[in-house]
């Protein structure tokens, strides 16, 4: 495939910066959304409303800061996805359906993150004035949205895996196992459909499957993809030249 016909954009530094946005997103997500927002691990679905309300009331500024930063950097996920799309152009050619699905999936992933973070932020905005059950409602609503919004991310992951499997290079940009890992993670997210039915156990939002396993495989997803993505950008630069 003649690289010069695919794109005249040779701003590889910008490509790499956008690729690093995957790691930026993940770092922010873990620290600000996860730890400061008390979402890693989340409060149990079976926990009484008073516990959650007390957390909002006692840690309002921590939650506010966590969610403000989390909302600010949520878009990093989309930036990352667009950079992956650039690499996919060199695998599939320009304007391929799977590339578009990957980019749109990554872009739409921002929505549940942004909106659910806004629910947590709302809970921390005036927690003294809100009834205890309302604070629990905000927390529940945020978790239901972020978990059940999985499908848009699944679209990104499955499209990425399916697209990069079509790489005909002797040494493909993304190894087969990475492509299949991507498909598998996207597929595994379907287990989130069970989450609304349970307040305790493996399938609850804090459960070993629906939180620990699902989020762990998601957390290591971005570093794996970014590593091969950065290597691919270097190879494209070598193939096409500056």
């Amino acid at each position: 495939m003649d690289g010069t016909k695919i794109t005249t954009d040779n701003s590889y530094g910008a490509w790499k910066f956008c690729a690093w946005n995957g790691m930026i997103f993940m770092g922010v997500f873990i620290v600000f959304w996860g730890i400061m927002g008390h979402n890693i691990p989340p409060y149990a679905g079976s926990l009484e409303a008073e516990h959650i309300a007390t957390y909002f009331r006692d840690n309002r500024n921590l939650v506010r800061l966590g969610m403000v930063i989390s909302m600010t950097f949520a878009v990093s996920y989309a930036v990352w996805g667009i950079s992956i799309g650039k690499v996919m152009d060199f695998i599939l050619g320009r304007d391929h359906l799977l590339t578009n699905l990957q980019v749109w999936g990554a872009g739409l992933t921002v929505v549940p993150i942004l909106v659910s973070s806004s629910f947590w932020l709302t809970g921390s905005y005036r927690p003294d004035a809100l009834p205890t059950e309302t604070l629990q409602l905000m927390y529940d609503m945020a978790w239901l949205l972020i978990d059940l919004g999985y499908a848009v991310t699944s679209v990104q992951m499955i499209a990425l895996g399916a697209g990069c499997l079509r790489d005909k290079r002797d040494v493909p940009f993304f190894p087969k196992w990475v492509c299949w890992y991507s498909i598998w993670v996207g597929f595994m997210f379907t287990a989130e459909c069970l989450m609304p039915f349970f307040k305790d156990g493996a399938f609850a939002r804090q459960g070993i499957l629906n939180f620990w396993i699902e989020f762990m495989i998601f957390f290591i997803y971005a570093p794996i993809i970014t590593y091969y993505q950065l290597k691919a950008i270097n190879r494209i630069r070598a193939e096409v030249g500056d």
Partner: protein
């Protein structure tokens, strides 16, 4: 591919897989299968821990399952899996029509699993048993439901395989057939563990 094999449309693979690989199927598909089975291993561990902590509930709940249906489904999937093995063997020998016929038979017999599973679910719901009844049934519905999702995807994969075998393209088709076969085996292997775990192990009340 050797010249003779190419002329005959036969993949030149001997006893190994497509491309002469020692692996039973595409390495990426094998990774997917291992990852998936790792997840099910966790499910089995969760179930075992639950059973140890509350054996009475598990025994009483298990008594509400019909092991005959579980056994019938086990036999259906094993026979279906065996037919896919025969299809792969036929494919490796270049007998594409034979391979296609065996995959069709595997699909027809395998679809019996769906009928029995739907019947079993309907019967349970009719008796007022749901995933929220107790922990045993939470796991029963969740694990068999996720397994059923894998089964449904497997049916789709077999349908695509039948279509590809209509106009085979040498090693590419063989590689697909082997990978489809490996996936279908995962479906039956998981059930072979699920059946004793859910229906038999630990006894009934």
């Amino acid at each position: 591919m050797s010249e003779l094999a190419e002329v005959q449309g036969k993949p030149d693979v001997g006893k190994s897989g497509a491309g002469g690989s020692a692996l039973p199927c595409d390495s990426g598909v094998l990774f997917f299968i291992c990852a998936d089975m790792g997840m099910f291993a966790l499910f089995f561990l969760l179930f075992t821990i639950g059973q140890v902590s509350d054996p009475e509930t598990y025994r009483a709940s298990r008594a509400m399952l019909d092991p005959a249906i579980g056994l019938a489904n086990t036999l259906i999937l094993i026979v279906s899996g065996w037919l896919v093995v025969r299809a792969v063997e036929a494919g490796r020998a270049g007998d594409w029509a034979g391979a296609r016929l065996r995959v069709i038979m595997a699909l027809v017999i395998g679809s019996g699993f769906a009928f029995l599973k739907v019947y079993e679910y309907a019967h349970k719901f009719g008796a007022g048993i749901t995933p929220l009844t107790n922990e045993f049934f939470t796991y029963y519905f969740a694990f068999t439901g996720i397994h059923f999702l894998h089964f449904a995807i497997g049916v789709g994969v077999l349908l695509v395989t039948i279509s590809k075998l209509r106009k085979p393209q040498g090693e590419a088709t063989l590689a697909w057939l082997e990978s489809a076969g490996a996936y279908w085996h995962m479906v039956d292997l998981l059930w072979v563990v699920l059946f004793p775990l859910l229906y038999l192990a630990g006894g009934v009340a």
